[in-house]
Structures are given as structure tokens and as C-alpha cells.
């Protein structure tokens, strides 16, 4: 393949200190929102225990009451007493702690045990990624955690797991030592992710919502026991939640007023007065201007973080839709200019970036390197009526992504067959900046998906991007637990090792499927693989049932339930899991998809078809990590690989997916919904690779697995087109139970240079859309930049790359992940 001269992206130019004239990235600007940006990463993120303290205080006093009511009371207690802070250059106010800088929260109701470990680490000074003050650590240990210790959700789920399931998810029966074979993250989050209906708050205000709820409460037949035990406590909780939102905003209004009186800078004093006025208006009342709408939206997000841990995923929803009327109106009435509007958004982005999702347990952090959190903003897509929805605000949000070098929030553009070229052109030019945004989500795949599982057209057309690459119907879908990860690399190892894992002293984690040396045919081998995988799927569903059914006793989400029509109408909390009228589904992840396909393919070709190796030779080489078996490793490396669009690997890929979807089709969730297979590794493919021995695709022991639905690192020889075609060909479309497929693509900047480069990218995007692939995202970066950044992190601290469904600063990532990103194929065309 021809090598093209290196062309730098605008991001690379900026970082290397040579911003070209056309560059739209404003580096080093020191005013307003830019000074906030420059301060952002000055200090390590710090855990706040204030929410935990106030939350626990309330829970101590509400024993025996319905869970949703307890939660609402606790939320209101937090809103009433959380110490507040307005920083000197805040414009959109509200943070969940009283100190400046990046902040995170601990949720003792979820994982008291892990937080205790965290507190101990802090006391012994072992914290690298975050700060937790010694006083706070002591208070956590002595005051807060004892209350939750026996009752935290994680502990309860682990206690209820059958012994055989626990022996697969963990090592030596210790629930805190995850095996990495089946990883039940269900137990460490309140829910996987959510998109609240912000528009409802903007239009009605919490006061309007509260009045509706009060009306319903009055109309309830109070002699009906069912109302008394379920609906009345729920509705009361909704009222308390509305009050919590209002009181928190009012307290900010008062603080702004006080600060304004003391402020010497007259302009800032005026600004603080304005903040006070706005916080009096929203979110209590309907928003009247874009600024009020943005402030109101941020209060909802803030409260949601104070309410529960959604795995860092509280998405922004279809921002270019619900904010557009306010923007348009402000523009028409001359209240705001385009650039003022853009700056308001950038303040909001910084508020999101200042909140950091931190995992108390180390494993969580391994899976979400670079402080991943997802507040995905959705742009484009279709209107409820199925017409193109892109508008001027969609373009403004793209412009902000080009001009404001910050990785939060993630931007997701919905693409459909009638998306206008001007929208695609703007998107592709934004992607070409090289900072990885926006990711693209395919309406032509996702709308039919939702229709097939029972959504109405109006709902399906209106889905929002959520999290990495997922989608949500915010008023129809109900509860969504955290995700189990299934390590396909480990499944390969167990198939070859009669259910055992070499690294764990050859302990057995799967069924004894027999000595592969005695297998007579490929079908027999694949049958063993299937049995290993199905066994994990069965344990995965077991974990899911237990965490689903325990959730309503230990968790609640009054705010998110209030802002979901299905829950509000049924008067049932989101965590109930079987809300009538809801669209129930859930997901789990296959990790190491290409690693598994390539390994299966190597066994099929080398051992059973071409007979170039015996099974014993292969297994011996794997056990020795290929040391002393170099020809065998080369044979394995050079066997056919997934991602080159050959029929054989496509067939095996589809067969692997089929095992998952068929199982999910056959065995529904307890609420009648179905589990769906997805492929979103975040960064777990690194950590989960560490416990997997050498695999028949030539991968060495204890190294990373393949990522998402991308080919194994270094396996693609047929170019990007073949990657997309393989991806499409491995989908098992005969069942509905398949959802997000994450696809990362790294491009050489020179390949999309200039206007013709943009058009190439547009054509690529359209073909991706035609192929009905769920998701795609691009890293447009030179290999030399990544290598230089690894060697000189200080100089390259601002380099943003796409990791999985999110962006992160490259230098915040571990060495292993940096290497993996470097080794991903860089495509040219």
C-alpha cells in the first residue's frame, strides 16, 4: 500500500503549537469559559462525601417506609442541606459538592464494602487517580459506612447468588475478587444509563409537575389498599422530588444574591444578580429563554447524579430538538447571538466535565479508563413524524465541538437516509478535526430495531442516543440494569482446556466439555465452545434475575421515575422492573468478539481442515505461550481473520452471535422483556485480556482482547470496506435480540484531506448507513502523534482520542490502553 505524506489534523496542529490559519480550535484563550477550561485538569478529581452524609442521615430516620419515599426524602435532605459553591466564573450554576475542581461522589447504598477499601487506601495515601481527604475517609469509615455495611445492594446481590454462579463470577468464593470471565457490573450501579425527559421540566417546571401529581393524589380512591401501599407513596415521593429541585435552585439563588452584594467587580455583581433571578425562575417554573432552559436542564442532571449512580451515564437527550424553540425565539427577539449561545453551551459542557464518574472498586476503573462518563448529546435524526430533524442548533452544537477542545460531553449524530448533505458535510468536517466527535448512530438500524420489539413509530423515531452507543426511548422504556460482560477470550480458553483457566491454577470455571485432543470434528469443537458459552449465559441470566428482583427493595429513583411517562402513569418506580405499559429489554456485552472468531477459525482451518497442526501441538504451544513454538505462532497469526470479509469468518462470527441471541430469545427476563447482545467494551477488553492465556489466533497470554466489533489489532489486510462488510455480514438478523455494535475506525489524516476528503468520508458514512451498522466512530490521528504522546505526555496532555464510545485525553489512559490504540489498524483509502 502506498504511503501518503503526513498531514496534520487541526487538533494535532494545535498541540504541536502550530495552529494553522484555518484552524478553528481556539487554543490558549484566557477569558470566561476558556479560563474555566484551562483550569479543568489542574487537580486530581476529588470524592465528595457530602451527598453520602446527608443521604444516610435521612435514611436513618425513614426505616420501614416504602423505598421510593425514603429515596425522595433523602434526595430532598441533600437538596436542602448540601453546602453550595459558586465559582468566580460560573455562569450555569450547580455542583454536587462544596469544593472547587473536578468532583465525584460515593454511593454507600450501592457498594459500601468497596468504599471502605477506598477510604482505607486514602488513609494510607495510596490514591493515584483521585483525592479523598483523610477527614472524609474517617467519617466514611466511622459514621456513614456502618449504616450500609450489611445492606448495600452489592452485598445483597452477592449474598443471593447461587454458589455455582458465584464460583464463575468470582475467585475463591470471594465476591470482591472478580474472575473476569463473567463480570456482573449489575451490582455496582443503580442502573446502566438513562435519559430523563428534560423537555417536561423546561415546559412545565417542577411546580407544574408537582401540581399535576397533587391533583392525581387527590383523585385517588384512598379506600383502595393498592393505592395506599403503592400509588400514594410513589406520588408523595414525586412531590418531594419536585420540592427538592425547587429548594436546591432557590438556595443557589440566595447564594448568588449574597455573593452579588459582596462582589466588587460590577459586571460580575450584575451577572450574579442575573443568576439569582434565573434560579428563582427555573427549574420551578417553565423556562422562558435559552439560558433559563440550559440552567434548568443542568439542575435536572445535577439532581440525577445526587439521586443515583447510573454508571456515569445521564445523557443529554435530543438537545437540538428540545432546546431549539428557546434558541430560535431568543435569536428572533434579539436576546442572544449565536456566539453567546455557544458560550452558554460551553459552560454547560464544563459543568459536565467537572463531574467525574469514579469507581470505588478498582475493577470499575479498569473498565472505564480516562474517567469515562457519558452525557451524550444527540443531534439530528428524525422528528416524531419521521422527517429530517436537523436544524441550526444541530449545526451550532457541531461548531462548538470543533471550536471548544473538550472531550465532554460526547456528541452523537443520528444519521438517516434523508439526512441532508449539508448536515453530513458539517459532521464530516467536525470528525476531521481529529478529536473523535461526533460518533454516528444509525437510524436505519435502530428505528426498525425498536419497531420490532414493540415501540410505536412515534416513539422509535424519537429515540435518544445514550451512553456509549446505545439508544433509549425515554418515556417508554423502563428499567435498565447494569451490564454483564462475557469474556469470549475466556470461553475459548475453557473450550481448549476442558473448562479450566490456566492463570487461575487451572481451576474449573466452566463445564467439562471434554479433552479437545479427542474431538473428531470441527462441529464437535464448536459444540464444546457453545456449551461453554451457554453456561456463562445461564449464569449471566441468573445474576440478572437476582439483581432485578432485589433492586426494588434496595434502590429507587424518584426523579428519573417522575420524568418517565410510563413510570409516572403507573405510579411505579423505575427499579420495579415490570412497570405495566413499559418496553422491557436489557443488554449484556460480548467482549473479545474478533479474538473468539479468529481463534475458532484458526482451529477449524489449521487443525480440522488443512490438518497442519494436531490439537495437541496447538494446545501445547498455547500452554507455553508459544515460547519455543514460533512456527505455530506464525501459522496462527497468518490464519484467516475476521474483518476481511471472507465468507468463512463471517459465518463463524454470525454463529457466535447466534448463540447469544438465540439464548436470549428462548429465555426471557423475569418481566417478559428480553436480554439483547451488544458489543461495547468501554476499556474492559484490556483488563479482561489479562486473565486469558494464549489464544489460537496467535495472541499471547495476558494481553488485550479485540475491541468492540473491530478486527483483532493487526488482523485486517483487506482495508476498511472489508471491515464494514464483515461487520454487516456477522449480524444474526433472524432474531430481534441484538443491539449495539461498537465500531472504532482509525483513519490516517491524509486520507481525508481537503474537500474531496470530506466527500469521501460522507460517502463512507452513507455506505455505513446502507449496511445498517449500528454505530461508527473515527479516530483521525497520525501514528507519529500517538507515539510522541506516549513518550512525552506533558507536551501532549491535551490530545483527545476516541477510546470506545467515548473520548478521553490520551495521556490519562494506561500504557496498555495507549498501546492498544496505537496498534489498532490505521486505514487509508
Amino acid at each position: 500500500m502506498e504511503t501518503i505524506a503526513e498531514i496534520l489534523t487541526p487538533q494535532e496542529n494545535m498541540i504541536r503549537g502550530q495552529p494553522d490559519e484555518n484552524s478553528q480550535l481556539k487554543a490558549g484563550k484566557q477569558t470566561g469559559v476558556h479560563s474555566r477550561l484551562n483550569r479543568l485538569r489542574e487537580t486530581k478529581p476529588r470524592f465528595s462525601i457530602e451527598r453520602a452524609r446527608l443521604f444516610t442521615e435521612s435514611f436513618r430516620q425513614s426505616k420501614g417506609e416504602p423505598q421510593v419515599l425514603r429515596w425522595a426524602k433523602a434526595l430532598k435532605n441533600v437538596a436542602q442541606h448540601l453546602p453550595l459553591l459558586i465559582e468566580p466564573d460560573d455562569v450555569i450554576v450547580g455542583r454536587g459538592c462544596s469544593f472547587p475542581g473536578r468532583w465525584g461522589l460515593v454511593y454507600p447504598e450501592l457498594e459500601a464494602g468497596a468504599i471502605e477499601t477506598l477510604a482505607e487506601e486514602a488513609l494510607s495515601g495510596q490514591t493515584e487517580r483521585y483525592n479523598l481527604s483523610p477527614e472524609d475517609a474517617v467519617e466514611l469509615k466511622d459514621q456513614i459506612l456502618p449504616f450500609w455495611k450489611e445492606d448495600s445492594y452489592f452485598k445483597k446481590v452477592m449474598e443471593h447468588l447461587p454458589e455455582d454462579t458465584l464460583s464463575v463470577t468470582s475467585r475463591n468464593g470471594d465476591p470482591n475478587q472478580w474472575s473476569g470471565i463473567l463480570v456482573p457490573t449489575e451490582a455496582t450501579r443503580h442502573s446502566a444509563q438513562w435519559v430523563p425527559d428534560y423537555e417536561k421540566v423546561l415546559r412545565k417546571g417542577f411546580n407544574g409537575l408537582k401540581q399535576e401529581i397533587e391533583q392525581r393524589l387527590q383523585e385517588l380512591d384512598s379506600l383502595n389498599w393498592h393505592n395506599r401501599v403503592q400509588k400514594m407513596p410513589f406520588l408523595k415521593a414525586m412531590i418531594l422530588t419536585c420540592e427538592a429541585a425547587i429548594v436546591l435552585a432557590h438556595r443557589y439563588a440566595e447564594l448568588a444574591l449574597t455573593l452579588s452584594e459582596k462582589e466588587k467587580d460590577r459586571q460580575r455583581a450584575k451577572e450574579l444578580l442575573q443568576i439569582a433571578e434565573i434560579c428563582h425562575q427555573v427549574p420551578e417554573n417553565p423556562a422562558r429563554t435559552l439560558r433559563e432552559a440550559i440552567q434548568s436542564q443542568w439542575f435536572v442532571q445535577l439532581l440525577s447524579r445526587l439521586e443515583q449512580k447510573t454508571g456515569g451515564v445521564i445523557s443529554n437527550g435530543r438537545m437540538d430538538q428540545y432546546l431549539y424553540p428557546y434558541y430560535k425565539n431568543d435569536l428572533e427577539e434579539g436576546r442572544i447571538t449565536e456566539s453567546e449561545a455557544q458560550e452558554l453551551f460551553e459552560h454547560l459542557w464544563l459543568n459536565m466535565a467537572n463531574y467525574v464518574e469514579m469507581y470505588a472498586a478498582g475493577t470499575g476503573a479498569d473498565f472505564t479508563e480516562g474517567y469515562a462518563h457519558w452525557e451524550t448529546v444527540t443531534i439530528g435524526g428524525k422528528t416524531v413524524d419521521g422527517q429530517d430533524a436537523s436544524n441550526e442548533l444541530s449545526h451550532l452544537l457541531l461548531k462548538s465541538k470543533r471550536e471548544f477542545p473538550l472531550n465532554f460531553p460526547d456528541l452523537g449524530a443520528r444519521i438517516h437516509s434523508q439526512a441532508p448533505d449539508r448536515f453530513l458535510y458539517d459532521i464530516c468536517n467536525t470528525i476531521k478535526q481529529g478529536t473523535g466527535s461526533p460518533k454516528l448512530i444509525n437510524d436505519e438500524e435502530i428505528i426498525p430495531y425498536y419497531l420490532s420489539i414493540g415501540a410505536d413509530a412515534s416513539e422509535a423515531n424519537d429515540y435518544a442516543v445514550s451512553g456509549c452507543a446505545e439508544a433509549r426511548l425515554m418515556n417508554r422504556e423502563t428499567y435498565f440494569r447494569g451490564i454483564s460482560l462475557i469474556n469470549l477470550g475466556a470461553v475459548i480458553e475453557m473450550t481448549l482446556n476442558n473448562g479450566r483457566i490456566q492463570l487461575f491454577e487451572n481451576q474449573r470455571f466452566g463445564p467439562e466439555t471434554g479433552d479437545p485432543g479427542k474431538f473428531e470434528s470441527w462441529d464437535q469443537f464448536f459444540g464444546a465452545f457453545r456449551r461453554q458459552l451457554v453456561n456463562l449465559l445461564m449464569h449471566m441470566m441468573t445474576v440478572r434475575y437476582i439483581s432485578d428482583t432485589l433492586a426494588p427493595q434496595y434502590l429507587a429513583a424518584p426523579l428519573l421515575s417522575l420524568l418517565n411517562d410510563t413510570c409516572r402513569n403507573a405510579c411505579m418506580d423505575l427499579h420495579t422492573g415490570n412497570v405495566p405499559g413499559g418496553l422491557h429489554r436489557s443488554e449484556f456485552d460480548f467482549i473479545g468478539y474478533a479474538t473468539a472468531i479468529d481463534s475458532l477459525l484458526a482451529v477449524k482451518k489449521l487443525v480440522f481442515e488443512e490438518k497442519r497442526l494436531t490439537m495437541e501441538e496447538l494446545i501445547t504451544a498455547l500452554k507455553d505461550n508459544f515460547e519455543g513454538h514460533e512456527p505455530i505462532r506464525h501459522l496462527c497469526l497468518n490464519a484467516p481473520k475476521y474483518g476481511n470479509n471472507d465468507e468463512e469468518s463471517n459465518r463463524i462470527g454470525q454463529a457466535v452471535e447466534r448463540i447469544g441471541v438465540e439464548f436470549c430469545h428462548q429465555y426471557p427476563l423475569f418481566n417478559g422483556g428480553r436480554m439483547h447482545v451488544r458489543y461495547i467494551p468501554i476499556t474492559s477488553h484490556i483488563a479482561l485480556g489479562f486473565m486469558v492465556g494464549a489464544t489460537p489466533n496467535g495472541r499471547k497470554a495476558n494481553t488485550y482482547l479485540s475491541e468492540g466489533t473491530s478486527p483483532s489489532q493487526g488482523a485486517n489486510t483487506e482495508g476498511l470496506g472489508a471491515v464494514l462488510l464483515s461487520n454487516a455480514a456477522t449480524k444474526c438478523n433472524r432474531f430481534n435480540e441484538r443491539s449495539a455494535r461498537l465500531l472504532n475506525v482509525k483513519l490516517v489524516p491524509a486520507t481525508v484531506e481537503g474537500d474531496s476528503g470530506t466527500r469521501k468520508l460522507m460517502s463512507l458514512v452513507k455506505t455505513w448507513m446502507d449496511l445498517k451498522l449500528w454505530h461508527i466512530q473515527f479516530n483521525i490521528v497520525n501514528q507519529s502523534t500517538l507515539l510522541a504522546a506516549k513518550a512525552d505526555p506533558e507536551q501532549y496532555r491535551d490530545l483527545i482520542v476516541r477510546v470506545a464510545g467515548y473520548n478521553a485525553y490520551f495521556t490519562d489512559l494506561s500504557q496498555d490502553l495507549q498501546d492498544e490504540i496505537i496498534e489498532r489498524a490505521a486505514y487509508e483509502f
Binding site: M1, E2, T3, E610, E630, P631, I632, H634, L635, L637, N638, N645, D646, E647, E648, E718, G719, L720, G721, A722, L724, L725, G754, D755, S756, G757, R759, K760, S763, K766, T767, D770, L771, F829
Partner: protein, 319 residues
């Protein structure tokens, strides 16, 4: 490469191809699938595809990939012609080109893909199946198939059959030719070609012979006939810019002058010399004839490009 399982029809002519490159963008509109055909009447000293010259399959050996006889050495036993040379010192392996007849027996025994046979026989329907894998990319970009080489029009029975099949199945076709083929070959192929790329290297016959091994008369005559007989054909003329050979305004000027007299030419492109093919010379154990040459400078290319009449100057935005 997966081929059709259908039994070959007896009347179906074979073609010899050596590479298929997908998602190419420089050889016709949109995304292209580039099929390289083996065999060429020219031996241009700057050629970047030395594996294309001979009209027979050929063994390439990449010593960088080979792990050596000490660890491996499977090829030694596999070779029926004793054409594998092993260094006594370090076990490194080489090909004895005097003995090797490119039978390819060794290829399947090499675990590290160091051995490769350039040259694959396919029928036109089989090749259609191979290129049609990419149709999803053609329809969005206005792309299609481009035949290059080597000289595709040497295998004229196979090529016309294949191009006809493409047209019957709605694919856009392009062909890259050096022009040094019998006029009848062009006449047979052109009706099924949507876009023809035709190389003109020099108007100086002696220089042409010296650097390509053949005179230029046939080439220039063919071009003239194409222009007068097929005025509707979309025709791009490519001029390679080769140091020592034609990299000066004095050399390019007469070429442009000649081309200006042919009004049917829609585009003229310069193809600057590059050195990406060197590695392939090594794998074929051939000496690279232009070892000491450096590619033309951007400044020179700019000057030369400005000599092209603006109406036929290739726009960069060909996508």
C-alpha cells in the same frame, strides 16, 4: 481469495491476476476495486509493480517475514526442485532463482506468509464475484471496477469477457493501459469501458526505448485512433514524471503539444515518480534500476502541472 464453486465452463477464458485492491480512489470515480492483471510489454525502469511483468505465476519471498531454518525450515522439505538456499551461518533462507520454477509448493508450508505466488488464474464470472463484494461502496460513490496491471489489454479475451459481464451487471468500468497493444485489442475492449486511462511517457522515441524497452510509435498511433474513432469515450491521459527521463518542461512540452492536437482527451494527469515498489523488487530478487533517484519536487510538479491546458487539467476533487 474465495472463488466460485461452480465448475469452470470449458469456453470460459482464464485471466491471470496478481492482486485485488479495494476502496481505491485515484483510478476512476468513487470507490474503486482495482484488479491487477499480470503481464506487460513494457519494462519501465521506474515500474512500481515488478510482479506484473511476466505473464506467468511467480514466487515472491519476503525475507523480513521468514523466521529462518533454525526455528522453522518447513519449506526446505516442501520444495520439489531444491531451490531453497540455507545459510550455514545463521539458518537464514533465500531462493535459488536458477532452480525455482514458481510452482508454489512451498507456499502452503510457510507458517509466516513469507512466501507468496503472484498470479492467480480466474475466469471472468469468478472475478465478477470477487469485485461484487464491494458493490455497496460503488452505489453510494459512483465507483466501480478498474483493471490495471501489468497491461490488462494483453489478456484481451478474458478482459472483454469480464468487461462485458460488468456492463451487463450494471458496474462502472475503467481500464488503465500503457497503450502498447494491437489496435484490435483496444477496439474490442473500448465499447465496454466507461473510463480509459492511457499512459503517454515520452514523444522522444529513442528515450522511450531506452527507459521502457519499446518504441512509442504504436502507443501514439493508438491514442490518435482512439481519439478520432471514439470521440465520446471518457479518456484520461497520464504522464509519469520520471527523474532523468522526462522531468523537465522541455520533455513535457512536446507531450502536451501532441495531446493538445487530440481534442477528445478529457483529462491529463501527471503521475509523479515514487519509490513504493522497491520492497517488491527485493522479494523477487530483482535489482531496482533507479536506486539513486529522488522523487520530483513539489515546485517542479507545480510548474509542469501549469503546462497542462486548464480545460483538461485534472481537478483534485475527483470524488
Amino acid at each position: 481469495m474465495k472463488l466460485s464453486n461452480a465448475p469452470p465452463m470449458s469456453s470460459e477464458p482464464d485471466g491471470l491476476i496478481f492482486s485485488v485492491q479495494r476502496m481505491a480512489v485515484h483510478d476512476g470515480p468513487g470507490w474503486r476495486t482495482l484488479v491487477f492483471l499480470k503481464g506487460c510489454p513494457l519494462r519501465c525502469r521506474w515500474c512500481c509493480n515488478p510482479e506484473s511483468w511476466i505473464s506467468e505465476p511467480e514466487l515472491a519471498f519476503d525475507s523480513a517475514k521468514c523466521i529462518g531454518a533454525k526455528k522453522c525450515g518447513f519449506c526446505i522439505g516442501a520444495c520439489p526442485h531444491s531451490a531453497i538456499l540455507v545459510s550455514k551461518q545463521n539458518g537464514s533462507i533465500a531462493v535459488d532463482r536458477n532452480r525455482c520454477c514458481s510452482c508454489g509448493e512451498c507456499v502452503d508450508y510457510c507458517p509466516s506468509n513469507a512466501r507468496h505466488i503472484y498470479g492467480n488464474r480466474v475466469t471472468a464470472p469468478e472475478l465478477l464475484e470477487i469485485v461484487e463484494k464491494d458493490v455497496m461502496f460503488y452505489s453510494r460513490s459512483g465507483g466501480g471496477v478498474t483493471l490495471g496491471g501489468g497491461e490488462p489489454l494483453l489478456q484481451i479475451d478474458f478482459v472483454t469477457r469480464f468487461l462485458d459481464l460488468c456492463k451487463k451487471n450494471g458496474l462502472h468500468t475503467a481500464v488503465e493501459t500503457c497503450g502498447a497493444v494491437p489496435w484490435s485489442n483496444l477496439e474490442r475492449a473500448v465499447p465496454s469501458i466507461d473510463h480509459l486511462f492511457f499512459d503517454v511517457k515520452s514523444t522522444d522515441n529513442e528515450l522511450h526505448k531506452q527507459y521502457t524497452g519499446v518504441p512509442n510509435q504504436l502507443i501514439l498511433n493508438n491514442l490518435q485512433k482512439l481519439c478520432s474513432n471514439y470521440p465520446e469515450l471518457k479518456l484520461t491521459v497520464r504522464i509519469p514524471v520520471i527523474p532523468e527521463f522526462n522531468d523537465s518542461p522541455e520533455q513535457i512540452k512536446p507531450i502536451i503539444k501532441f495531446l493538445r492536437s487530440q481534442p477528445a482527451i478529457s483529462n491529463i494527469e501527471l503521475m509523479p515518480y515514487h519509490r513504493f515498489g522497491i520492497v517488491k523488487y527485493n522479494t523477487l530478487n530483482r535489482a531496482y534500476p533507479m536506486e539513486k533517484v529522488t522523487p520530483p519536487s513539489p515546485a517542479l510538479l507545480k510548474v509542469l502541472r501549469e503546462m497542462i491546458p486548464s480545460g483538461t487539467r485534472q481537478r483534485k476533487e475527483d470524488f
